[in-house]
């Protein structure tokens, strides 16, 4: 509902500035406020400077390939022809696999921790889940390569290929390393953050909501699924978005298990690359403005996608919260 803005709001920045800086209440306050303001501005400045630097470094590739950079699948340093589509596709595909696996598992763990676990088990179990986030990416990648990938090759991919092989997703030779392995390692990395945020959201649901449903004759599961989860849904969406943000940008562990291919294919067993892993693999040996520029442009695209995901996520959270309070007090 639109309402007439208060005059003070129209000139809010001006008013704010005057209130704080024209007539300082005390010199100490003025110094402190100025330092805080400069710190805040420097953060914005850093972001702008970084974007400008990236744009500048990417410029040779931007002018050479234009929008075709996003639709081309060729990556040929010898001929100096570069296209980003397989890397963009790899990032989106592995993140989708990660979310498909991580969100249900995390939600299950969060429900267990917040609603079902006996009190003595809650703290240690939560601690263990959070410790998962503390494992360095490269360590997880090493584990993925030497432990997870062999298991994925056989039996996981062999079994999927023989029983669900009629789907394009599960065709082709079981390499072990590839999109599936990349997606699963990302799922493991996104799990702690999604679990932690979802658990906190569930724990914040007032017990009156739970009791209202129980008092109507609901079982424990009905109380959770019909009262607690709907109440917490915006927080659960936020948890998923945070996990997605983590998955999109994650580099080291994915690089180690994704197999360094470069193709757009529905076959999940095939080796691929994400934008982040492509940059990490090739930045060291890149030479020439165009090659470097193409890698930096890849970084810019990744930056834009994560920015978009975050904005959409925040809007989604705000929208669901607003909807829950339709005409609220």
């Amino acid at each position: 509902m639109a309402r007439a803005p208060h005059p003070q709001e129209v000139h809010a920045p001006v008013w704010w500035w005057r209130a704080r800086f024209r007539r300082p209440a005390s010199p100490g306050d003025w110094v402190f406020q100025t330092i805080a303001l400069l710190a805040a501005l420097s953060l914005v400045g850093l972001l702008v400077a970084m974007t400008l630097y990236l744009l500048n470094a990417a410029w040779p590739a931007v002018t050479r390939f234009g929008l075709g950079f996003l639709t081309s699948s060729t990556w040929d340093p010898v001929q100096e022809v570069f296209g980003a589509l397989p890397a963009v596709y790899g990032t989106l595909l592995t993140s989708a696999i990660a979310m498909l696996v991580a969100i249900p598992v995390s939600l299950g763990v969060a429900i267990f921790l917040a609603e079902l676990a006996p009190p003595w088990l809650r703290a240690p179990a939560s601690f263990l889940v959070e410790m998962l986030a503390a494992i360095p990416s490269v360590v997880l990648g090493l584990w993925g390569l030497f432990v997870m990938v062999p298991v994925i090759r056989d039996p996981v991919e062999r079994w999927l290929g023989s029983s669900l092989g009629f789907l394009p997703l599960f065709q082709g030779p079981p390499f072990g390393v590839g999109f599936l392995a990349g997606g699963l390692i990302l799922a493991i990395m996104a799990l702690p953050i999604i679990t932690a945020v979802a658990r906190d959201t569930l724990a914040a649901v007032p017990s009156s909501q739970r009791e209202a449903m129980l008092a109507l004759g609901a079982t424990r599961w009905e109380a959770i699924s019909r009262a607690v989860l709907p109440y917490a849904r915006s927080g659960i969406v936020a948890a998923g978005i945070l996990g997605l943000g983590r998955a999109l940008g994650e580099t080291m562990a994915v690089t180690m298990v994704i197999g360094n291919g470069y193709q757009v294919t529905a076959r999940l067993f095939a080796p691929g690359n994400t934008m982040a892993s492509k940059i990490a693999t090739e930045f060291n040996e890149a030479s020439g403005d165009l090659y470097i520029g193409s890698l930096v442009e890849l970084a810019l695209v990744l930056f834009a996608i994560t920015l978009m995901v975050n904005v959409v996520g925040r809007l989604l959270v705000r929208w669901t919260v607003a909807k829950a309070r339709v005409g609220g007090q």
């Binding site: 009156s208 009791e211 004759g217 609220g328």
Partner: protein
């Protein structure tokens, strides 16, 4: 005189005191190591309003939460004793608390509608738990419940709006409608007016008086005038030396407020403590 008139009406609404109503025998309740209730025994009459009064922390809420097995929802809480609902012990082994709660509805201290559901869905929530699916039956049942809760006229044009868009008093009546929709035998009310203004309070009190025609009502209140206004029977609880609640006196509200048997009851209702 008034009591006699009520007596003559009794046979039409009450088949017999032995089968219907709630008989509480030697009820004890704990929160972990702390005893909250000790040896409470009383008989709650069907189609009457029974109020439970007493100072803060005397176990009023714990007592009524024991009547629909909500007490045990709190971690570490446990109960000992018997609560016979129509002659059947709800704490007997093998009794499913979920089935007990479908027969004994509850209204809480603060209005707690489900904020993600519409007015309609709030009232329908309990019916859906019971597996009612046919849309026609559902809307009839929702309308009936809202009418019983004296809310239908105010919300019939906004059934699709969020339940939390209503005023506090309307929200509480929505919660009453939600509890009534599943057609319980008993309605427990835990200080249902403590978060409401005087006008909304008086509407809920009118409602309570009207609802006893069809339901057995137990209402916890910290407001003695309210107990005097709405209830037929009153139970007075008080903390013992170890802070466990004990039943001091139980009787007809009129008699209790004019001529209490126990001097502690008299001290409490005349406002000397609590």
């Amino acid at each position: 005189m008034v009591m006699q008139e009520e007596r003559t009406m009794e046979p039409q609404t009450t088949p017999g005191p032995a089968t219907r109503g709630i008989v509480v025998q030697k009820l004890n309740a704990w929160y972990g190591p702390l005893q909250a209730l000790r040896d409470v025994s009383l008989t709650i009459l069907p189609n009457r309003v029974t109020s439970v009064i007493g100072p803060s922390g005397c176990g009023k809420s714990t007592f009524i939460r024991c009547l629909n097995r909500m007490h045990e929802v709190v971690p570490g809480a446990r109960v000992q004793g018997k609560v016979l609902l129509d002659g059947e012990d709800i704490y007997a082994p093998g009794v499913d608390p979920v089935r007990v709660r479908r027969r004994v509805g509850m209204v809480f201290q603060r209005p707690n509608p489900f904020p993600t559901m519409s007015v309609f869905d709030n009232v329908a929530a309990g019916l859906r738990l019971n597996g009612l699916r046919r849309p026609g039956q559902m809307s009839d049942a929702v309308e009936r419940a809202l009418q019983q809760a004296a809310l239908w006229d105010e919300v019939k044009d906004k059934l699709k709006q969020s339940g939390s868009a209503l005023s506090g008093g309307q929200q509480q009546r929505l919660c009453i409608a939600r509890a009534l929709a599943v057609q319980p035998e008993v309605l427990l009310m835990d200080e249902p007016c403590s978060a409401l203004d005087p006008v909304a309070t008086s509407r809920i009190e009118d409602l309570v008086r009207a609802l006893k025609e069809r339901y057995t009502i137990v209402i916890v209140t910290h407001n003695m005038q309210q107990a005097a206004r709405v209830s037929d029977m009153t139970a007075f609880l008080l903390m013992g030396d170890d802070r466990a609640g004990e039943l001091i006196e139980y009787g007809q509200t009129r008699q209790m407020f004019t001529n209490p048997r126990d001097e502690r009851t008299e001290a409490y209702i005349t406002g000397r403590f609590g």
